[in-house]
Symmetry: C2
Subunit: 315 residues, 2 copies
């Protein structure tokens, strides 16, 4: 398995990316071969200091970098030698089996949609976030921002994508799907939620348990929570801000620590035909290591095959 990693993406690149590579190679025994995409002049000394097993990685030189605030489409067009452009090129041509970057999120999304096709039947690929729960487990919330306006059918598909992720990556059997809403009973909500409820009820590929309110997001009520990307993004950023409050106010609490979303690594783009993982701009070593591990897990669990099967059934 060859996993491609953008060494130039993120606020602390390439130093933290190299740390993540070392952490992975030193602690995870596997047949994963890492393809490190970045500026050789910067990478070579760092990799040499890190004293890595040279048989487990190779470097692909990139002479350009897409900045965190560049316009995605423009940057991808004008910088074919950037680490992100090269990464997608390698992924498309099957020279790597997964691609990871903590760089410009917009460029990663545009790159994904241009280079990698959506799985047949998936109307809208989506991104999700893990939601820590007091009992120790993790729920999954999606969409968290790339689909700001959705149709009921989109949410019903997110439920399938989220359920498969929850089952095969988070190891939750028969994950319970909740619809994020502003009331408990069927018939409550805005027009979208009201129209989505019956679709989820009829959706045989998911275990729908009904509506979930804002107060239930961090409880054990549902394993997969679906919503459009506007609300999901507000929820995610608000949860991040609570973590920041806890840190600023020096509140020591094991559970609140789990709201440090940066440590999780990144989120895969669900519904596309190859594994793409997008990391937080401020990713550090542990986050990079976790992203590599997630890519490995996605490949080993054959998640994308399961998604393809599901959408073949449902078409």
């Amino acid at each position: 398995m060859r996993i491609g990693l953008d060494m130039m993406g993120g606020d602390f690149a390439p130093t933290e990316a190299v740390k993540g590579v070392k952490l992975f190679l030193d602690t995870v025994a596997s047949d994963v071969h890492l393809v490190l995409i970045g500026d050789e002049a910067q990478l070579t000394p760092l990799l040499s200091v890190a004293q890595l097993d040279q048989s487990r990685y190779s470097v692909v030189h990139s002479s350009q970098v897409i900045g965190m605030n560049e316009h995605p489409t423009k940057a991808l067009k004008e910088k074919p030698q950037s680490s992100i452009s090269i990464g997608f090129h390698l992924l498309k041509n099957e020279q790597i089996d997964a691609f990871i970057s903590a760089g410009n999120t917009g460029a990663m999304m545009v790159g994904t949609f241009y280079s990698i096709k959506a799985i047949e039947g998936v109307q809208r690929p989506t991104i999700s976030t893990l939601v820590p729960r007091e009992n120790g487990g993790y729920g999954l919330l999606l969409d968290v921002g790339i689909n700001a306006d959705c149709k009921p059918e989109n949410l019903s598909q997110f439920a399938i994508l989220g359920s498969l992720y929850s089952k095969h990556i988070l190891n939750i059997d028969n994950p319970r799907v909740g619809l994020l809403n502003i009331g408990e009973e069927e018939g409550k909500g805005n027009l979208l939620a009201m129209a989505t409820y019956p679709l989820l009820k009829e959706n045989k590929q998911v275990n729908f348990i009904g509506n979930i309110e804002g107060r239930d997001i961090f409880t054990d009520k549902a394993d997969v929570i679906v919503c459009e990307g506007f609300t999901g993004n507000v929820v995610l950023k608000m949860a991040e801000s609570f973590h920041e409050v806890a840190v600023r106010r020096n509140i020591q609490d094991e559970y609140l620590d789990k709201f440090n979303f940066e440590a999780y690594g990144g989120t895969p783009v669900l519904g596309v035909s190859k594994p793409v993982i997008i990391g937080h701009g401020i990713s550090q070593g542990l986050a990079f290591k976790n992203m590599i591990q997630l890519a490995k897990q996605i490949n080993e669990s054959k998640l994308l095959e399961k998604i393809k099967e599901s959408f073949t059934q449902s078409v």
Copy 2:
């Protein structure tokens, strides 16, 4: 000034309502006369034990109660002798100057819309919530649930209503208005937010400062944050759940304590022609006292007159 209070509304009625009345009468010197609406048989002994100044309140008997889970429209129709029905009757006929209840929220909303007119020019009356900020002040978020689907014009009006509330009740000069969105720049967001941005920019009655993200809700970035009621309600309930987490986990923190929204009392329905305040079902003594004080403040500040003036201008 005569303030009507539903003594039978809320989970701990009438005991906690009586406590709130006592707290108000014992601690706030004013010419407010309280009109206590409820079952005399239950109220008389409680009021007698409370040893109140009898010149400062009167009791209006109600023989029916609308339960917390009854269907609003049906209950109002079938229970004309309920404390909520009587309260709206008194308010409509100018026998009281404000009406407060911690009872069935739906019945309070329906009662408001049927008995009390919207102020001319206001398309959608709204409800808001205070958002505590680390620097000690309070922001205002609206709508938080009664307008789940909105048009851009509705949000622009919420901005006016919220600004006037912020100015006259929270005493914030020239309150900064933010649009809750999923990106900082103009042009970001879902269709509603994208269409609302230019309206707010052109709205001369508000001090629009641009988009506000989920991470900014509890910061000092804006004084008034507008959104449709779906997202607002999810945000409110999620913030409440963070407070519950803090309590459950025994986290002692002055700022997190402020997320105890129950203590605030209630939210006024903004945009209707008479003051109506809706309390949390689990309101206790302090919350009832705070609601009475808020009704007093709304009347004294002439908030509703200012709203009428604003909407006369803008029509």
